[in-house]
Amino acid sequence: MISSNAHSVKNAPNTALNQMGTEAFVSIRGLEKSYGPNIHVLKGLDLDMQPGDRIVVIGPSGGGKSTLLRCMMGLEEIAAGDITLGGEGYISAAPGKKGINKLNREVQKRVGMVFQHYTLFPHLTILSNLTLASVKSRGISRQEANAKAMSLLERFGLADKARAHPSQLSGGQKQRVAIARALMLSPELMLFDEVTSALDPELVNEVESVMLQLAEQKMPMMIVTHDMWFAKNIATRVVFCAGGVIVEDGTPEQVFGNPKEQRTREFLENVLHAGH
């Protein structure tokens, strides 16, 4: 932990808000990830997340945004680097042993993730989708889990769907259930990987409003999205990720209003024009 802090000072230029003194909530150092010998997706990415940050990651496809989130969730073997949460290291590459990462499952459990393609389990009811992990892996009683699940579903306006199966729900409803399922485990950090990309346009809003609700409750989040309007609304920080590194990092006003880097400007011009 001490060495990783020393490291973070060295890499300070990448932290936008100049909070070098305070300990980062999440700290990512030298993250490298390749698919096969030729495709290097992340090339030594550094990023610090402060408590209360809601980071939106934008950037061209193939730039490593989703891979970054997948690495943070512990879904990918990383080639180099390490990630800490609340000062505790939980994912780090084990040099020498190729492909094998050191993974602290207890810390990993404090992170929740929602994916682009809902990933609800089709054979289970909505209620069981929510309670499965609580009951089977966290040792929470079924009664308690059911009560918590019902209160979450109520909050998201889905209480009447508790007994339904995922196939009976719209895409927007499925995605809200997926968010509720992640919240069941009381994560300290939520990762959202293009959660509205697969939705019909008229369903995007209901999912984004649930995320805004979470933002109001100060849930730390990292969000990958193509929706720049939403990014402006929810982010406390915007990070432009391209070519496997963080190119630019700042407040939404800075990054959208007055980007410093040429690449960021070009990217934003392209997407904002395409959007209109």
């Binding site: 997948r70 969730m73 512990g74 879904l75 499952r105 990993q108 459990k109 992170v111 929740g112 993730m113 994916f115 393609h117 990933t119 389990f121 089709p122 054979h123 499965l132 992990a133 089977k136 892996s137 966290r138 199966h165 196939s167 399922r181 992640a182 485990l185």
Partner: protein, 222 residues
């Protein structure tokens, strides 16, 4: 050709045929139960990380899938007693041959079903903190059974029909009884037509039921 179709003698022997049908159904049901459970275990072995388990299991599967069931039955019936000096009841031998065959085909059905489960479900399971065992038990297995069901039923119906082959080793199943009756009555056309209808009358409803279930699962999962 002035052969006159006459079912009289066949219908007189109906008791004999029903006795045979009972044996056929017993053979099939026993083999199906063994095949459904054994198939899943063999499938897990065929997907094992360890080569020592995986390779022999795959060899077993391919041998039984790529040789005629008739030879498998004859081989088990004549060669197993000679090689290993074990003498089993003919019915048990029949079940052994049929269920080994079915296990091989069901293992493949399970494997295809497991591979059809979206990989994203495994990601979601990790994100929910489920262990690999919990993921297999609560996420993979229930979906594999559902997805594999149509093929498992088709395999069961096919083993019901293959079971006619055990008549060749003198197990007194429907086919064997039919053969007896046709020689007794000199009425092969009527006898074998009737026997075929009996197989058909059992297999068709099962087939229809399964395609209905399949349709229901499909709409439920779309």
């Amino acid at each position: 050709m002035n052969y006159e179709i006459d079912f009289f003698y066949v219908l007189k022997g109906i008791d004999q045929l029903l006795e045979g049908l009972l044996v056929t159904v017993q053979l099939t049901l026993t083999s199906v139960v063994i095949g459904v459970i054994g198939g899943f275990l063999v499938c897990l072995m065929a997907m094992s990380q360890s080569r020592l388990i995986r390779l022999p299991t795959m060899a077993f599967i391919e041998v039984f899938r790529c040789t005629p069931a008739l030879i498998q039955i004859v081989w088990i019936f004549y060669c197993v007693p000679m090689l290993f000096n074990v003498f089993l009841d003919p019915f048990v031998m029949g079940v052994l041959a049929l269920s080994l065959n079915l296990i091989a085909f069901n293992a493949e059905a399970y494997r295809a079903a497991i591979q059809a489960i979206p990989k994203a479900h495994l990601d979601a399971s990790i994100a929910l903190g489920l262990t690999p065992l919990q993921t297999n038990l609560y996420v993979v297995l229930p979906q594999a059974i559902r997805l594999g069901m149509p093929v498992l039923v088709t395999n069961a119906i096919s083993i019901f029909q293959q079971s006619a082959l055990v008549a060749i080793v003198a197990i007194e199943d429907l086919m064997y009884m039919g053969k007896l009756l046709s020689t007794e009555t000199y009425r092969p056309i009527e006898t074998f037509t009737f026997v075929a209808l009996m197989y058909f009358a059992i297999a068709l409803p099962v087939m229809l039921l399964s395609s209905r279930l399949e349709k229901r699962y499909k709409t439920a999962n779309s």
